[in-house]
């Protein structure tokens, strides 16, 4: 109800304001008419001057009066678009020819889109900030001068550098042995053997990890012609699951400017599978869930969880 009254009052004020504008216009034009006509039709010069000044004064007074009236009315009218979230652009919705100029709906869509963009950009910047914290934490112990600075060069690192990084990681973890080979030109392939638990085939592109396949310690990792078999998956469900998680880890450990740190983080994470069959789930305390041991390892704490038990 209050809204309806409010609107009717506003409309009345509008029409009054419009007539006030008309009155102001006519009084202003009377001022100029008076100026244009000048002094005439009076016998004496003195009389003419007097009459002209009086006339001019009257006209100015009426301009002043009309202006005051308009100002008073404009306060009554207020700012109609103030409450609208899109401010004045909200008035576009009043346009009756929607079909010809769908400006308003387009505007709303653009607004939503930009809102979403802002939200996602916020999330992304939060995540990127986390990464930068991790980077500075990992910087210790890495010889800074070896690290390539420019981004594009990381794709064309010399094989010798890749060999160095891998052999350093190999020496870091005694229970993990890494065998590097280059069967297809410059790209390296790693066969990582973790204790007597599992084997991992890692396909590299320069120092970036492209693909990993996890298999059992007793499973064959070679094709018939003696090459590393990078396509077939493990026969065991547990290692198929670990393969999925390792692929997730590749997406998690991303730091384009420092690929060696990424490889090292990934291997550190992978190493926690040495207790694949020995660690109970940190959440439910059991070894098995649907016949599978805890196959997930937390990226930060490296704790063991069942796939469905992780937060």
């Amino acid at each position: 109800m209050a809204d309806v009254i409010n609107v009717s009052v506003n409309l009345e004020a509008f029409s009054q304001a419009i007539s006030a504008i008309q009155a102001l216009r006519s009084s202003v034009s009377r001022v100029f008419d008076c100026l244009k006509d000048g002094m005439r039709n009076k016998e004496t010069l003195e009389g003419r001057e007097k009459a002209f000044i009086a006339h001019f004064q009257d006209n100015l007074h009426s301009v002043n009066r009309d202006l005051n009236e308009l100002e008073r009315l404009s306060n009554l009218v207020g700012k109609p678009s103030e409450n609208h979230p899109l401010h004045n652009s909200g008035l576009l919705s009043l346009d009756p020819v929607q079909d010809k100029t769908p400006l308003y709906s387009q505007l709303l869509q653009a607004y939503k889109w930009s809102n979403k963009l802002q939200y996602h950009a916020g999330l992304a910047s939060g995540l990127l900030n986390q990464q930068s914290l991790k980077r500075s934490a990992n910087q210790m112990g890495v010889s800074a001068k070896r690290r390539p600075k420019a981004q594009p060069t990381t794709l064309v690192l010399p094989p010798q550098y890749v060999d160095d990084v891998i052999s350093r990681i190999d020496r870091m973890f005694p229970e993990m042995s890494i065998h590097l080979s280059r069967p297809n030109g410059t790209s390296a392939m790693l066969l990582v053997t973790l204790g007597k638990v599992l084997k991992v085939i890692v396909v590299m592109r320069s120092l970036f990890i492209d693909r990993t396949i996890v298999k059992g310690y007793n499973e064959n990792v070679y094709t018939e012609d003696g090459k590393l078999d990078i396509w077939s998956k493990s026969n065991y469900q547990v290692f198929q699951k670990v393969t999925d998680h390792a692929t997730t880890a590749l997406l998690h450990y991303q730091l384009p400017q420092m690929p060696d740190v990424v490889v090292r983080s990934f291997m550190t994470w992978l190493r926690s599978y040495i207790k694949l069959f020995q660690a109970p789930c940190q959440r439910c305390g059991k070894f098995l869930q649907d016949g599978l041991p805890p196959t997930w390892r937390d990226f930060r704490t490296l704790e063991a969880f069942h796939d469905t038990c992780r937060q």
Partner: protein
């Protein structure tokens, strides 16, 4: 192959061997295990022939010649506490030729037959152990394929065994303790079956009717 645990399931009170086996397999099927064919493990006992023994009253050692349907092309020859030889199936013919040294014990053949079940990465074999015409007991074999070190996955195996054997869950097999982190092999399973068969041989006979 993975780490395997072979154990004996006692016959349920007031039930026959066959009924107990059915109870057990139904429990496995409820768990979600799927049938996958059959299996058979057999064992024959040989003595050292008297003529080869020395005069100082040595007692002859027992040798067991076993087959496992999981390894159809192999034959296993074991001594109690002794080495295990894995040979081709031709080994049976060789044993006939070695009659002068090893003699087959009369009616010593014992075997277990039953159904294989697959549950996730576990392979479960529930078998009826028979000696001649009589059912003598129930064998339960559980293999966890992905793992090769017995001590690594014993806790995990135990949890699985408990899920369908309940109070009849066995302790860790003796072969698990032998070598700390050695890779588990087929011979370790055969040793467990040999021990199980020896244990069942000494136990009281179950009535023949139980076989059906």
């Amino acid at each position: 192959m993975g780490v395997t645990c072979v154990s004996q399931m006692p016959v349920a009170e007031g039930k026959s061997v066959q009924q107990t086996v059915e109870l057990l397999t139904r429990k496995l099927e409820m768990l979600g295990a799927e049938k996958q064919g059959t299996f058979c493990v057999d064992c024959e006992t040989y003595h050292t022939a008297a003529s080869t023994l020395g005069s100082q009253g040595q007692t002859g050692k027992l040798m067991y010649v076993m087959h496992n349907s999981e390894y159809p092309l192999s034959c296993f020859a074991l001594f109690e506490n002794g080495p295990c030889l894995i040979a081709d199936t031709n080994f049976d013919v060789l044993m006939v030729k070695l009659k002068g040294f090893f003699q087959s014990a009369k009616a010593s053949k014992i075997e277990t037959r039953g159904t294989r079940y697959q549950y996730c990465d576990f392979l479960v074999k529930v078998g009826t152990v028979t000696m001649g015409p009589s059912a003598r007991g129930i064998s339960v074999e559980v293999e966890y394929g992905p793992c090769v070190v017995a001590s690594d996955c014993w806790s995990l195996l135990l949890e699985f065994l408990q899920s369908f054997l309940g109070s009849h869950t066995p302790g860790a097999p003796a072969v698990f303790g032998n070598r700390h982190d050695a890779v588990y092999g087929p011979a370790d399973t055969m040793v467990q079956y040999m021990e199980l068969f020896n244990k069942i041989r000494k136990q009281q006979q179950v009535p023949v009717a139980g076989i059906r």
